[in-house]
């Protein structure tokens, strides 16, 4: 990166807040997904004013900026394209206010998700969206990706819990969207901004809802001899009129992998388990637990266990939340998918994934948010073997094609980023995407912020925004062009 730019960045953020040596930049060339690209520089902003100054500088010099939280994203949203400045918000990590009477917290973007819940638990409240990476991921990153998590089945994803944002626009201007009220007069730009993957502005302050801790929580473990029975149970629970707080599924391979890692208490000979959490008033939880157990048994569960105490409950969840890490222990690489399908299609889709697994000779492990049809098949491969790498990408595309054929989505909570950009044309028409680009340009007219993400460069983009290097849109078998 140009040395005068580096000098100016250091002047804005401080000498210890800019990285530019190759060995330092290497640490910022990837996220938790599969893509890689080295940035030109990394700068750690500590105040809104610094973010504003950095953006103004970047806009003047036409240098792309990629905002970054903890780098736990799975779609390449925080990875640089070209020689970009990676703008890390990790040092803006203060909880600014816990406003219990208004059931809100005001945080800087670098606050780690779980730390907010830990800080508010003493008042009887927590922050509901709980991505599996919640021990590391930041709330700013969650806002960018509109992150979900196991407990968003009943309570909704990030966008349902954010009421206010302070945003720095690409030209350095600082604007407010919303505040402590649930909504405000005029356009809901707060809701529109959440999930924009760092392509509209840099979030520097976030007001979130705090949720009352439930009086009672219980966790059931449904154990199955076949994957189909577990999948059918998901459909049956959905139709029973009960909305569990969480409804998660792990297949047999995943169960054994997790057990080897943390001894969560899953039976190793199971073909699949369902982790079902119920919460609310004690009376309601007890009744629902009985009803859900009955549904599981009707759907040929081998056994339904109920966590005896909080310790056992936490252990069951530890298994689920460390599942990705457990996979990392047994395979050199894995490729996490994030497809969504209508809930009744879970059984068919799992059968299809099984077929794809056999076709490519790759293990595909399943651990996912079954209750809302959000699948996370993990394709295991060895990145040192180019053949396997290629097969894993092909298998991933076939899985996506299957989700789309059921009217599903290419991403439920991980975002489009750079990874799934080429698939956007399978879900959206050029007209759809053009509207999105026009709206994005109202915030980010010159594509300074996170260029070449989310929306592929189609012909109209050049008409609207001027020339950009062409993103590769690869054809996908089984998906209409």
């Amino acid at each position: 990166m140009d040395s005068s730019i580096l000098r100016q960045l250091k002047k804005i953020a401080g000498k210890d807040a800019v990285l530019d040596r190759p060995e330092e930049l290497m640490l910022y060339e990837y996220d938790a997904g599969v893509d890689k690209h080295r940035p030109g520089a990394v700068v750690f902003a500590q105040t809104t004013q610094q973010v504003s100054q950095i953006m103004r500088l970047a806009s003047e010099k036409k240098i792309p900026v990629v905002p970054r939280g903890a780098g736990t994203g799975l779609s390449g949203g925080a990875i640089a394209r070209r020689e970009a400045i990676v703008l890390s918000l990790a040092r803006m990590n203060k909880i600014l206010e816990i406003d219990v009477p208004n059931q809100r917290a005001v945080v800087q973007p670098g606050v780690v998700n779980l730390e907010l819940s830990n800080a508010t638990a003493q008042y009887g409240y927590y922050y509901a969206p709980d991505p599996s990476s919640q021990k590391a991921c930041t709330i700013g990153g969650n806002v960018a990706e509109n992150s979900g998590g196991p407990h968003t089945l009943a309570l909704g994803v990030t966008v349902n819990h954010v009421t206010g944002l302070e945003v720095v626009l690409p030209d350095g201007k600082v604007i407010e969207l919303g505040g402590k009220p649930q909504d405000s007069t005029g356009l809901d730009l707060t809701g529109f901004f959440v999930g924009s993957e760092g392509t509209m502005g840099v979030v520097t302050r976030i007001t979130v809802k705090l949720t009352k801790l439930p009086e009672h929580v219980t966790t059931l473990l449904g154990i199955y001899n076949t994957v189909e029975d577990a999948a059918n149970t998901v459909v049956a629970i959905t139709q029973s009129g009960i909305t569990p707080a969480a409804l998660e599924m792990l297949d047999g391979w995943m169960v054994r992998c997790v057990e080897a890692n943390v001894h969560a208490g899953y039976p190793e000979d199971a073909a699949a388990v369902l982790l079902i959490e119920l919460e609310g008033m004690r009376e309601a939880v007890e009744e629902q637990a009985e009803a859900v157990s009955a549904v599981c048994m009707q759907q040929k569960a081998r056994e339904v266990r109920r966590a005896r105490d909080e310790k056992q409950r936490q252990l069951l969840w530890l298994g689920r939340k460390t599942a990705f890490g457990a996979v990392g222990r047994v395979t050199p690489s894995y490729y996490t998918q994030d497809g969504v399908i209508p809930r009744t299609k879970v059984p068919y889709t799992l059968a299809e994934i099984e077929r794809i697994s056999k076709k490519y000779g790759l293990v595909i492990a399943n651990v996912f948010h079954a209750g809302d049809g959000n699948l996370h098949p993990l394709i295991l491969f060895d990145s040192r073997d180019p053949g396997q790498q290629e097969s894993s990408r092909k298998a991933a595309k076939e899985i996506m094609a299957c989700c789309l054929s059921f009217g599903g989505s290419i991403t439920g909570e991980h975002g489009v980023g750079m990874e799934k950009m080429g698939l956007m044309t399978a879900m959206f028409t050029e007209d759809d995407l053009e509207v999105m680009v026009r709206l994005r340009n109202a915030f980010n007219p010159e594509s300074i912020l996170n260029p070449q993400k989310v929306i592929p460069d189609l012909h109209f983009c050049r008409e609207i925004t001027g020339p950009l290097p062409k993103a590769k849109v690869e054809p996908v078998a089984g998906v209409p062009a």
Binding site: P181, T185, P214, M281, V340, S409, T411, E413, D432
Partner: protein, 455 residues
């Protein structure tokens, strides 16, 4: 602006798009302005062609559904086309097992709800006039009722949206699955945009299991402070009521069959000279099994003086949703304000209502979501001369001035003569310049609802 074509030639060109018989006249007024023509396209593509024509010729378009909320907003300079979605009124797809439904925008909400009911499901929206209000209209106005307390509003159920832009394109956002982050969240942007950005032609919703049993508990308090103290007790308790309404002393009069209409300003309570009404109510609606409902009764104890169930309960909540319309039916010159407040600002807003009303010769009445700060505030004119336009303007300004920072309050209804004298939308914490930039990006010629919305 380009020169207007003669009405006859415009009508002919519109009829060429939507067919003879679908370009009609109306005497329906929007704040005193009668649209030049009503155009009812039969498909999103036809709607697109109508918008393209309007855009090319600089015609002002007002999208319309069941006409239940058209009086909200500023006085339009003119309306060339009232674009009715009434012919796009089918359920496109319903998958009870997946708990999702796809509906054309012109369908009446109640009609969709009755289909869902066959499967013990619902979209938890209880805004007013659902027999007439359409899916598209409810989305465009972000309409809600007491259920907003727990379920949120249309933006929280809408998982996919199809719309027509002013350049005639049929576009969409979202999809048909309940969790989806592919592309920008156009559902959030269009919900509550009051038809100012695009014409909504179809929406997909996630639906919910309908509660099998509910019960309503009415709790009465001698002062607003006591009522709000009770609200804190509910927040701290394990109870999770589906609705929590606060009802001001004068409001119950408007929660029932309306009395005879006294035009224009006759405030005529049943017993005008009896004891002044001072009683505040907090009304809770709980859903659950017998055990759950008994727990409510036990925990609320003697504070709950009344319980409602069945038809009585259903009607009661219907009246709460209908409050503002009942007020307006009785007092044509009443003013109704919707608030967006932080939870702890509810008390201040209700006191601001009482204070501003008193100072400007109105009688205050309010219902609203005590737990989320969405209040419906009515200013009833005293039965003297009709208030002057400036009286409304001054009252609104005084009321807004008393609200805690961060609040916003839009005037939903007041006499159209008063509207030019103040800003019906008021200030908002969200950057208005950014809103305008968004509007320009998608409706550069400002043909959609010009002069009516905040942008």
């Amino acid at each position: 602006m380009s020169a207007l074509s003669s009405p006859v030639s415009v009508d002919r060109d519109l009829a060429a798009i939507v067919g003879d018989g679908h370009v009609t006249r109306t005497d329906f007024e929007i704040n005193g302005v009668v649209p030049a023509a009503v155009v009812s396209p039969g498909s999103p593509e036809e709607a697109g062609a109508v918008l393209r024509l309007a855009n090319d010729r600089g015609l002002v378009v007002a999208p319309a559904g069941g006409l239940t909320k058209q009086q909200i907003g500023g006085v339009p300079e003119r309306i060339d086309i009232l674009l009715s979605t009434s012919r796009m009124n089918r359920i496109e797809q319903y998958d009870p097992g997946d708990l999702t439904i796809s509906v054309a925008a012109g369908m009446a909400f109640a009609e969709m709800q009755s289909t869902l009911r066959e499967h013990q499901q619902w979209v938890p929206c209880d805004a007013a006039k659902l027999n007439r209000a359409t899916i598209g209209g409810l989305l465009a106005t972000g309409a809600a009722g007491p259920l907003k307390s727990t379920f949120g509003h249309m933006r929280d159920f809408c998982i996919g949206i199809q719309f027509v832009t002013t350049d005639g394109k049929v576009a969409k956002g979202g999809g048909r699955v309940v969790k989806n982050v592919a592309g920008y969240d156009l559902m959030k942007l269009l919900t509550g945009s009051y038809g100012s950005l695009a014409v909504i032609t179809r929406a997909n919703f996630k639906v919910f299991p309908r509660p099998r049993q509910t019960r309503t508990f009415i709790c009465r308090f001698a002062s607003i402070e006591e009522a709000l103290k009770f609200r804190s007790f509910i927040f701290q308790s394990a109870l999770t009521p589906m609705c929590m309404e606060i009802i001001s002393p004068r409001a119950p009069e408007y929660l029932g069959e309306p009395g005879p209409v006294h035009d224009p300003d006759d405030y005529a309570p049943e017993h005008p000279l009896s004891l002044p009404a001072v009683e505040w109510q907090i009304v809770l609606r709980a859903a659950g099994s017998d055990n759950v409902l008994s727990r409510y009764a036990r925990d609320l104890g003697s504070v709950a003086t009344h319980a409602l169930e069945g038809v009585e309960e259903r009607d009661y909540w219907g009246w709460i949703s209908h409050f503002e319309h009942n007020v307006l039916a009785r007092h044509h010159n009443a003013m109704v304000i919707y608030t967006h407040l932080a939870i702890q600002s509810v008390g201040a807003a209700l006191q601001a209502l009482e204070r501003a009303a008193l100072d400007y010769n109105f009688i205050p009445a309010a219902v609203g979501r005590a737990g989320t700060g969405h209040l419906v505030l009515a200013f009833l004119p005293l039965s003297v001369d009709p208030p002057s336009a400036m009286q409304y303007a001054n009252c609104v300004s005084a009321f807004r001035g008393l609200l805690p920072p961060g609040s916003s309050a839009e005037v939903a209804y007041c006499p159209k003569e008063a509207k030019p004298h103040f800003d019906v939308w008021g200030t908002t914490p969200t950057d208005v310049n950014m809103m305008r930039a968004v509007k320009r990006a998608i409706d550069p010629k400002n043909i959609l609802n010009r002069g009516r919305f905040i942008v």
